[in-house]
């Protein structure tokens, strides 16, 4: 690429930047495109989750007593701990972005490790929560069998647990994908691919991770807390 543009004036150092793709003119253009693309992607994520939130609100509207009764069976403490864990991970992620803005790759890697750690804790808590639900027969839809385990919930709790597993499940999938991306970013950072002028991939990873956090900020009170 840089050979192709060898004739370019010397002051135009973007031309020699190995991170600049051939079809962009400047790093600024490339960065701005990547960020706009990421925000549009976040828009699609929000709209996708909105379908589930709408399903939840409609469920509340149709069967209010059942939702209130069923949600008592979710562990507020597990949800609360996970909220704190996820908020912390968002914080470390934000600090990670800040570190690379300042050109500190080492600190970025540390922050990525901390974020990954928090994500893992989140998944572990989730694992215990899910297995408790499985044990109690609080499964979605037609697999619901809590009444056989001595839990009587009036109405149609199988819908509530269906929505619960779907919302937290899809969110969990996003967490896992986020962990994988951060691991990849950790490796790339180790290879020295990022610097104070070239960190849009880290920034986008951060945006994605914050969105995962955002979804949880709404999931937590709606599923675990609200009466």
């Amino acid at each position: 690429m840089s050979n192709e543009h060898a004739h370019a004036p010397a002051h135009d150092d973007d031309e020699h930047n190995p991170h600049l793709a051939h079809h962009f003119d400047t790093m600024g253009q490339q960065t701005a495109s990547a960020k706009l693309g990421m925000w549009l992607f976040l828009a699609t994520e929000i709209l996708m989750f909105s379908g589930l939130f709408l399903a939840y609100f409609i469920l509340r509207m149709l069967y209010p007593e059942m939702v209130l009764e069923a949600h008592e069976h979710l562990s507020k403490w597990a949800g609360g701990i996970n909220t704190v864990v996820l908020l912390t991970s968002s914080y470390t992620m934000a600090l990670g972005v800040r570190s690379i803005q300042l050109g500190d790759v080492k600190k970025l890697r540390l922050m990525l490790v901390l974020t990954i750690l928090c994500g893992c804790i989140f998944m572990v808590v989730k694992y215990f929560e899910y297995s408790a639900k499985f044990e109690h027969g609080m499964l979605p839809g037609k697999f619901y069998s809590a009444h056989l385990h001595g839990y009587e919930i009036d109405g149609l709790p199988h819908i509530f647990f269906g929505v619960y597993f779907l919302m937290t499940g899809l969110h969990g999938v996003h967490v896992v994908i986020g962990l994988a991306i951060m691991l990849w970013m950790f490796v790339r950072a180790g290879r020295g691919e990022f610097g104070a002028k070239n960190y849009v991939a880290i920034e986008n990873t951060g945006l994605y991770w914050h969105l995962v956090d955002l979804v949880w900020i709404f999931l937590f009170p709606l599923l675990y807390l609200v009466k």
Partner: protein, 547 residues
Amino acid sequence: MSTAVQSQDPHPAVEPSYLVSKRGLMSWLVTVDHKRLGLMYLASVMFFFLIAGILAIALRTELFTPDQDFMSAQTYNQVFTLHGAIMVFLFIIPSVPAALGNFFLPLMLGAKDVAFPRLNLLSFYVYSVAAVFLIVAILTSGLDTGWTFYTPYSTSTGTAVITATAGVFIAGFSSILTGLNFVVTVHKMRAPGMNWNRMPLFVWAIYSTAVIQVLATPVLAITLLLLIIERSLGIGIFDPAMGGDPVLFQHFFWFYSHPAVYIMILPGFGIISEIITVHSRKHIFGYKAIALSSVAIAVISFVVWGHHLFVSGQSELAGVLFSFLTFAVGVPTAIKVFSWVATLYGGSIQYNTACWYGMAFLWTFTVGGLTGLPLSTLAIDVHLHDTYFVVAHFHYVMVGGTVVAFIGGLHHWWPKMTGRMFNETAGKWGCLLVFIGFNVTFMTQFFLGHQGMPRRYYAYLPEYQVMHQVSTIGSYILAVGLLWTLIYLMHSLWKGEKAPSNPWGAVTLEWQTQSPPIEHNFHETPHIHGSPYDFPEIDKSAGALHH
């Protein structure tokens, strides 16, 4: 205003074109060149157009007599479902944006490529995977839900609903990625001087489409995911047997699928804006009105979905609201049509094949648009809903609108894409056959629908027979016209004359490079100084009448 670009001279082929710049199968399979991807999409959508077209002919043949003829009820139901699903998800939604849009959007903006070329390639493979899923569904136990997958039928039928909806789910991601790519491309990749007021109207149309793709398709994804979960786990959101609400599914589904109608038609509008100006050598009439009406349609399209639910047990109040909003979408659409006709005024119209299709579009789309009005009028819709009137209406918009515009665009840009000229006489015959066949097929169905002929019947009351037979014969004419078009276009690839760089004398940027273009589109980055419709034939001395 000065001329649009600095260099107007025809560009002889001095560099190898994108078709031959790299060779070998692998160079195509892993290409990130938007032009090659456009061609690959074109080949794919044409393949599915052919498949779904054959299914349509089978349906029309079955309907030649009132009784069951050569298809069983189950077969008929599967055939109309697959006709709809393939046409909508694998042909018409990707047709103009992913094939022509991919090819021409960067060219028209003066860019070297789309913003995310690798994402573009990924999008194509995602589309292919989706197609594989749908084909697997067909080859296993088929699909008989109708393309709308209404619950609780789709949660209870025995066919391969999960495989098929997974296919559509995946196709949705391809659509999202393409849309996202185009939005960013339009925002960030414009050539110097290409401000928003100088963008060709095709770009505006593709941009509006891309916005809808980004905003609406995720809801389709979650709807289909919920449907898959409902069918496999029975969670009870949509299925009344489990405590759900089947009309809720319709809300979810149409929140995507009504805007999707505009994903299908808006790019067609863009093509027509290009064709009419170029072939009449006139500046487009009402550039801003047309550009902004595309955006307006895109936005309003999100608040009209309830007109699909007028008789479905939706609340009456919601019906009234949606009816009003549906009329609102008619206004920007009317503005467009009037502006196209006004563009013809004072022009110098050259009747080549693309122009014929443009003129045909004005007829068919006007019929399609006007017949949308009784369907948005609440009380009349109660009678016409789910009858052949609706079938005819949306075929006038989707086939008479989008497909006619698509084929017109294909002819308009064929020399640029392939570097070959096709036979104009053959093209005009093809257009005539398509136009006549199409109108005979679907005009009749308006009358059928008004007489009360319901949709999706494989056998019907004998009173309807004559009109069904006329419609079937029309469909054969249409099929012959389309096959004829395919034949002479293919023929032109081997035997066609070499195309000059700008055979129609157009001003937009894609014509300012050689035919077919080089790999990086332009020899040097173009600089834009004026309108994309500033033709040299325009009589500047005719004065300062209108500005």
